[in-house]
Amino acid sequence: MTDASSAIAVTGMGVITPLGDSPVALAEALAAGRTSIADLPEPSPASASRLIDFEATRYANIRGMRVYNRASRLGICATRLAMTDAQLDSIPAEEMGVVFATRYAHLDTLIEYDRALVTVGPSRTNAALMPLAIASVPGSVTALSFGLKAFSITLSNGDAGGLDALSLCMHLLEQGRARAAVVVSANSLCNEIVLSAARAGLLADAKNVRVFDRDSRGVALGEAAVALVLERADHARQRGAQAKAILRGQASRFAPRPDLISAALTRAARRALQVAHSAPADLALVSSAGSGAPATDRAEALTLIDVLGEEKTPVTAVKAALGDADACSGLLQTFAAITSLSARTASPIPGLANPAVLGLNYVTQATPLRGNQALVTATARTGSCSALVLSSVDD
């Protein structure tokens, strides 16, 4: 955090998940230990947390939105919810930006468009799909939907993308390149990706997705959208906005080899704590990236043991409730950290019975929190590791 005057606050939140489409409803579901993970009919074994009845027009009526794919529509709708929550009417659109974190948000459109080029030929292909088939689209159509003119950026850093997007946005706001900005991510299930993940042996049926558990066989996929409105805390105060959290420090590091993931995540976490001027003893909660994937869960557990030392900080993991929603997961974890700090209660990890790695204070039932800072962690299959330190506003 550079200095107190330029601290970045979260002033609005929008969520669309199978466990709720309001911050209150989702926070209550997480605190109750509910999960929306269920088996997929095929491939097998596979499970996911799916948005069965998502209808974009319930949330936003944006001209042209029907041609956008499901992930872009989800992102736009979550953005609308967050902007409404932040009551941004007093800030001109020219002074607002968006950073969209994604991994595959354009992929279904690309596959559909390119497949049509091959099968029916260009002259019979829907030309309107071409501009929507590139990776920058989620950010640009979100900005276009709301007239945001400061910036429209799409980051594709895998599961680490949500926290990296927060970092990028924080620094652009600190420099005054926008007065407010939305960091948003949305994930929908793409058939080709589901099948590939199943064939890679990454997925498990619902009963065997057990985050941090020695009996876990794999992950569940997740559909969700999250948007967080960021602005400088002093600006928020000036316009009478209520800050929900302060983002204190973030860092990302890379593991050049899979066996170095734990070391890279440790470096990221320590750097984030350093930037935040925080110590492990300051942490009330870890909102972890634990997903049920045995190797990465183990790597993360080892990191947390290393970073937390003697501290018995509660460790939670929203992917046990909502599945692995790729880049969206980092923002879901951030949301969970913010609402947990606010409620002073950590949400349990559904399904965790026998931890594979001992020595951490895994949350298995709703647990009171002491303190007001949280560490959020993320790792990507490609090797990126990110960490974020945030605090509640009473810090």
Partner: protein, 408 residues
């Protein structure tokens, strides 16, 4: 008060139709001859003749077996690895494990790893879903592009993939610049890469945006864009860090500006207001007076709307100074390399700063009379200048520009 950290460029790698070494790239730009020609190694459905600027890689750039055994679908990875390897070597960092272990990379692209989706679709009719294997998800994960480079060279800092379409090559430089300024790394690689895909030609063809012959930036008869493939990577480094290790300093990154049109999914704002806001921001945040800018490397795609909007933006920002600033576009020589374009143009800017020479805009013979600006055309020009502005605009409306200065 602690002086702000300054960021310089200590190496670069340029892969384009103009060759695969920086010297060949610069010589081709100075010669001002277009490298756009009928493509020999790439085809698209229902298009008889494709015009573009193809890269020819040499034997040393063979695709490593651990990246992909399928060179056709892994073309983008190959170009990116070739540019990054050269940039690291150029910066004198090859084998400098300790420095690289703290360095990161931010890479951008427009089409990214699209060829892997194309490869799947090519096999779909015959194989159906059996064409999907367990590594398909990883192969189409765009973050794999910078991750491959990071893994190859042992980078341990931030590794990001930026998607802001054709402004990616500059946006990545901007984010890397910030990471160094705030002290999160001493060395960052930044740049962009893109290659040809059928959706690129078929899509732009259906929109009527492809040049009928070759692109002619700022010309009265300009009628569209011509594509090239390529990769450009810059090694950004904190100034004192570069000095301490005796590194060459090619130029300084002085600052940057960004904006978004929020105008249309495909079309740029013809008034150039977003582009103007980005330039004004670059100047104001860097505390640089407009009069100090001695050269503008324009986005200059050769489409009627892009060039019009860009000229209007330059006029809006520089006012009476505008007609006195030399302007060029390198896209009529190496084609529009999409996500790589901004990075390759930054390399051209650094070489121009170092040599005090500007490359001519190929195919520009009859400037649009409404523009009234000083376009470099015909032959290379010698100009004394210390600062230049490199402009870019992306599909979807994101504008980014970077201010580069002579080596301190």
């Amino acid at each position: 008060m602690v002086a702000p950290r300054r960021v310089v460029v200590s190496g670069c790698g340029a892969i384009s139709a103009a060759g695969n070494e920086v010297e060949a790239f610069w010589n081709a730009l100075l010669a001002g001859r277009t490298l756009l020609q009928p493509l020999r190694h790439f085809t698209a459905p229902e298009m008889d003749v494709l015009i573009g600027a193809e890269v020819v890689l040499d034997g040393g750039d063979a695709l490593p077996a651990d990246v992909d055994a399928h060179a056709e679908r892994a073309r983008c990875e190959q170009l990116a690895l070739a540019a990054a390897g050269r940039a690291i070597r150029h910066a004198g960092l090859l084998g400098q494990a300790a420095t690289l272990a703290d360095a990161g990379i931010i890479l951008g692209s427009t089409k990214g790893l699209e060829l892997h989706a194309c490869d799947l679709n090519q096999r779909w009719s015959a194989e159906g879903s059996a064409a999907i294997d367990g590594s398909f998800g990883l192969r189409v994960d765009d973050h794999r592009l910078p991750a491959l480079i990071a893994a190859r060279h042992g980078l341990g800092g931030p590794v990001w993939y930026n998607a802001t379409a054709c402004s990616s090559g500059i946006a990545t430089t901007a984010w890397a610049f910030d990471i160094i300024v705030r002290g999160d790394a001493e060395v960052m690689l930044a740049g962009g890469v893109d290659t040809f895909t059928r959706s690129l030609f078929n899509g732009f063809g259906r929109m009527g945006a492809l040049a009928k012959t070759v692109c002619k930036p700022f010309d009265k008869s300009r009628d569209g864009v011509s594509f090239g493939e390529g990769a450009g990577i810059l090694v950004l480094e904190e100034l004192e860090h570069a000095r301490a290790r005796g590194a060459q300093v090619l130029a300084e990154i002085v600052g940057y500006g960004i904006s978004n049109d929020a105008h249309h999914v495909t079309a740029p704002d013809p008034n150039g207001t977003g582009c103007a806001r980005a330039m004004s921001q670059a100047l104001s945040t860097s505390q640089v007076e407009p009069a100090c800018v001695g050269y503008i490397c324009a986005h200059g795609t050769g489409t009627p709307l892009n060039d019009l909007g860009e000229v209007r933006a330059i006029r809006a920002v520089f006012g009476a100074l505008a007609p006195r600033i030399p302007i060029n576009s390198i896209k009529s020589i190496i084609g529009h390399t999409n996500g790589a374009a901004g990075a390759l143009a930054s390399i051209a800017c650094m070489l121009a700063l170092g040599s005090q020479r500007l490359a001519p805009t190929a195919n520009l013979t009859d400037p649009d009379p409404e523009f009234g600006l000083d376009f470099v055309m015909g032959q290379a020009r010698e100009v004394a200048f210390d600062l230049c502005l490199n402009l870019s605009a992306g599909f979807g409306g994101f504008n980014a520009c970077v201010l580069l200065g002579r080596a301190p």
